[in-house]
Symmetry: C2
Subunit: 312 residues, 2 copies
């Protein structure tokens, strides 16, 4: 009698979806020594960035050794011996020992809908700012619930842990008889792909156009630390502002270590309703290990302000 | 004929002054292998922090091997053979092969004063928000000039490169016939001492008391990254807010890599006049390489808000 054990480790992985999960999985599999292909139907990975900033991430992922197939959609799987053997896109067949699907997230609200609880955007549970659903005594928080977007002034569904935690706190206080409100979100998100830090907040160009707003865009390149300081490296900061008023609408950052957390400056400014003009003289911290005397954020908002004053 | 050359490298250094320059020099000298003593007349180093936060920096400096002499003032030097041989404080004599004085900075405005240009706080040149001095056609910018403090609403003299750059830009635009204003500063500063990052913005407790304001203080400990993530380490965030209104008055941060630049969130909030209540739900970026789901800044403002609601 012989026991046959499949001792072969997978060699070829195909990741479908170039969002946060897909990219993080692609990186992990590359580090494990697999050949990795990534299929993304958009023109760049990281579709929550504008394509020009997404291209920086696509470049970083390709540099790390991932075979990118952009603008291609998953059409089918080939199966052999009860296991997946290949991923079929509109353009090619990619042999695969392992397939990872990072296709996004949807609220699982069927039960709630059948119980008569009103749904909102993308079938998330509609909630007010105290996290009450439309049915008295029923509260919701986290990935199943809507948030209010403080820049677009519209309900959105953003499934992130930081939002879920804040909503949970507010729902808990109210459930316990207290009073708390969750005013909303500005769309902040951050990720790390190999040595690259990627961050975004506010609205991206597509979202701004969908709202019918006119805007200016300004992208600048600088360094994460003073140029002469050890481990200084590239950072690109893109700023989006409303034409005329100069109201900050969004920002995106791609750079090496030290780049991403700067997005919180923009997030705070969005909460405060600042214009890029308001931001030009922000008293941001400077010392050579952290920044040039002009922080990249300040260079970016100066550039955007100039575009606003020149009429876009 | 013999030429006598002093080939002895200095072995014992005494640094006088525990501010940014003194601490950075002490670190550099320790790294060069010298025995380093540091004399500071205050009760802790880094007097721009409150003593409880300064104590964290004193501890870090001592841990790095610097002999700290706090609460001692420089009284004299001993000289032998035309060279400094020791530093004399009120309590002891410290033998020294090399002495570094980091005693602060004063505007060198004698010439300007003799020319009839009005001086302001700490003898800095008084300027308006276009960087005009009190004499028509004469402008000033940088370490010789005052700034307006947006939290205390009073003129201040802060000699930092980031402020000098912003003032210079505004003065230059105005000198060239354009129109620009420099609204002011919020007192942001950052430094790096060995592995420790140190940052502050706004007013410290002493400054708040001098203004006659009532305030609450809240300090919290957390980690720079998700606790389970590699290279996560300690961060302490202290927040100061006005009693009653909850208006943010200042913040201080001490922690390892990734800690300091978070001060920019507070700096932006100070520019916007936010309260700690306004800040509780800031949509700050979260992913495990950068933060816990609750960023330390959010934990800190929640704690301060609780103190405000409990009446301090």
């Amino acid at each position: 009698m012989r026991t046959v054990v499949d001792t072969e480790r997978p060699k070829r992985a195909v990741v479908v979806g170039g969002g946060y999960i897909g990219l993080e999985m692609a990186e992990a599999l590359i580090l494990r020594g697999l050949e990795v292909s990534l299929v993304e139907r958009g023109e760049q990975v990281m579709g929550t960035l504008d394509p020009d900033m997404g291209a920086l991430v696509s470049g970083a992922v390709a540099e790390a050794g991932v075979q990118l197939h952009l603008g291609e959609s998953l059409e089918a799987f080939e199966v052999a011996g009860g296991r997946v053997a290949a991923v079929v896109t509109g353009k090619r067949t990619l042999p695969a020992d392992i397939v990872i699907l990072g296709l996004g997230v949807r609220p699982n609200t069927d039960l709630a809908a059948r119980a008569g609880i009103p749904l909102g955007v993308r079938d998330a549970l509609r909630v007010n700012d105290r996290m009450q659903t439309g049915v008295s005594g029923i509260w919701a928080a986290g990935d199943c619930a809507e948030s209010f977007h403080l820049v677009s002034r519209r309900p959105v569904h953003i499934a992130l842990g930081t939002i879920a935690n804040k909503q949970g706190r507010v729902a808990g206080i109210n459930l316990g008889g207290g009073y708390a409100t969750f005013p909303g979100v500005v769309g902040t998100a951050v990720s790390k792909i190999c040595k690259w830090e990627v961050a975004r907040t506010g609205l991206q160009e597509r979202e701004i156009r969908d709202l019918g707003l006119e805007y200016v865009a300004a992208a600048i390149k600088s360094t994460t630390r003073a140029g002469y300081y050890p481990n200084a490296g590239p950072i690109t900061v893109k700023t989006l502002a409303e034409k005329g008023s100069g109201r900050l609408l969004g920002a995106q950052i791609v750079g090496i270590e030290g780049a991403a957390k700067r997005i919180d400056i923009f997030a705070t400014a969005l909460h405060a309703g600042m214009s890029v003009q308001d931001m030009i003289n922000l008293d941001l911290s400077y010392a050579p290990p952290y920044s040039n005397a002009w922080d990249p954020v300040l260079i970016a908002v100066r550039q955007a302000d100039r575009a606003v004053r020149e009429g876009g």
